[in-house]
């Protein structure tokens, strides 16, 4: 009895002390609940419609696709551990791809499409620490491959 009471009271105290420390304010600042943010990522025209091809960027993206080891899990026209990326710019928006490439942890927690893919592939995509400019180049490469494959 003696031994049990302490922890319970301690927990009560800690809860009292910590309540309200981490509100949802971060999420609000970003403009909505995770579900709303995820839905917004998938809104609008697909990448192949909204984007214009930049061949220079696309060929840097092709190199990055190898150097960042994307190619160990993905190919264009073949299923490996990750999805076949043929036609991906016809399936996804630019914003969705960018978040998937740069922040796969968040996508796998919150985005229904990414979660569907995870169920299918039984694998969490690696966060390869891709920087903003690199992500743009990678998406240009995927765009080029999508257009070429049409």
């Amino acid at each position: 009895m003696t031994g049990r009471l302490g922890p319970i009271l301690l927990a009560a105290f800690i809860l009292a002390g910590l309540a309200g420390c981490k509100s949802g304010s971060e999420e609000k600042a970003a403009g909505g609940s995770p579900a709303e943010i995820a839905a917004a990522l998938n809104e609008g025209p697909r990448a192949a419609e909204s984007m214009t091809l930049n061949p220079g960027l696309a060929s840097w993206g092709e190199q990055l696709f190898k150097d960042k080891a994307c190619v160990t899990c993905h190919a264009v026209g073949e299923r490996k551990q990750g999805p076949d990326l043929a036609g991906v710019a016809d399936r996804r928006t630019e914003r969705w791809m960018k978040r998937q490439i740069m922040d796969p942890e968040w996508m796998l927690k919150n985005d229904p499409i990414a979660r569907g893919l995870m169920a299918e592939y039984a694998l969490q995509m690696a966060n390869q620490q891709v920087k903003d400019a690199e992500a743009n180049a990678l998406i240009q490469y995927l765009l080029r491959e999508t257009l070429a494959g049409r």
Partner: protein, 615 residues
Amino acid sequence: MRRFPTPDRILMVFAAAALAGLLVNGCNGGGGGAGDATGDAARRVYVAPGEYDDYYAFLSGGHSGQVFVYGLPSGRHLNTIPVFTPESASGWGFDEDSKAMLGGFLWGDAHHPGLSETAGDYDGRWLFINDMANARIARIDLDVFKTKQIIGPLPNVSANHASTFVTENTEYVFAASRFSAPVPNTYQSIADYKNKFNGVIAAVAIAGDGTMSLDFEVLTPPFHWDKSDAGKGPSHGWVFFSCYNSEQAYTKLEVNASQNERDFIAAVDWRKGREAVAAGKYKVIEGAKVIDPAEVPGLMYLLPTPKSPHGVDVDPSGTRIIGNGKLAAVTVVHSFEKFQQAVTDKDFIGEYGGIPVVRYEATRVAEVPVGLGPLHTQFDGRGFAYTSLFLDSQVAKWSLDTYEVVDKVDVHYSIGHLTASEGDTRHPTGEWLLALNKISKDRYLPMGPTHPEGAQLIDLTRPTMELILDIPTYMEPHYGQIIKADKLIPNVKVIFPIEENHHAHRALNEEETSIVRDGKDVHVKMVAVRTHFYPDTLTIDLGETVYFHVTNVEQDRDIAHGFGILRSNVDFQIEPGETKTAKFKPEKAGIYPFYCSNFCSALHQEMQGYLAVRP
């Protein structure tokens, strides 16, 4: 649960604490609370799930040869850094690079971790640690928490105990012989100890990138050098070594080396040592530049100190050198200024092998009656010193102003070192003290004759020392360094950036993998990525040696792969972005499956391959 306060006391304390908590709405859980010795102890050490500790504590693992990382105040064991001893989970000593670094040794005796310093304060770049047994020093880089260099066995140094003890701007770490031996180490009759044996003090220079190299050595009488500390502030440029066995005995030391009422603390001016080497005043012995102190006046002095002093500790101001009596019930305070004056006045009472012995009364400013078995002293930055008492199993707190003992606390049991938060720097933080105990006896659930060893956490922020947490450890926590986590966090790399991987056999993707034969050697550049090895099948001929150069191409935090070969001694972990090499020479033809030995993903079971060995 023993040692728990009575229910009504708990209610009172926690009600008060809860009230205080509500009032301040403390988000970091620090400060405040009721002043009861143990009532709010849980709160003081509680670190909520997902939160970080305030401090890293690096504790040496004695003859486990390793360094353990703890978080404080929680006392959680965060990780183990293998240093001098092979360790299979990380693969330390199993891959070719770390195997080469271990140099064939299977053990080491890790004693005194020393953090790198800038202007006398921890700067968070490196942690140095000595191997007493094989006279080595290792450097752990604190951006990756990995051992990056091991220097030694240092020539001529026999049992490197008085090490590492970093100088104020990380110019040097030191090594010194605890068991004097012939220099060079050749056969001599042990009875010729006094004439044929010598002690050695070695200065290991640290380059700007952390690279260690042996700069010079000093030949000394065959005392047993025990502990050391580098000067700071006014005493910067000096390093101090305590010794026992000034009797120069070689048998039954517990009696024969405990005859003299005073042994010595040696003061060595390492700048003079450096100058002497530049002036060519040395002999090369076993590849080391060895200085005879008789030929370099001003290099070294002996300060008599009672009795077989163990720890020598320089106070935060750098003005006092404290010798811990071990066999005398006092801790002696020498004044650095008075020592300098005595040198000017040539206030000497004799010499040993050309090294002047300074008159005791000329340098001593206090003998503090701390208690029985004083071993080591640390500081809180508020004018107090804390001395461990091995025989009394206590810590004594005393004033650096009045030299009076003001508080004592029991520890359990037989304390050796103690380490305070940044407690050996110019600016100790004065928050926490860890008692590093040799024996735990009845403190933990019984589990057979082998007992955990242990550290105990003492809160220094209260009017009296309060022991509030028992922390069991694997192998003795010999000595430690406690550093503010903020100093390390910004520089810690949580992956190895793949752009910085310049390994000669790195492969970033399948295209870069290869199998290349060079005579009887087969070099395989291999990629590991969830959930594959590329290549995952391979055939060699019996008699060939295969080198697997495995690159983990992932950059994802905490996604390490393993590489283990069945019926072999190959197994290691490969961190994201890292390349490691396994060398394997099968003894028999047959099939050798290999697999990922470090859980990585849902398809981890599938992460495997086959090596076929043709007869």
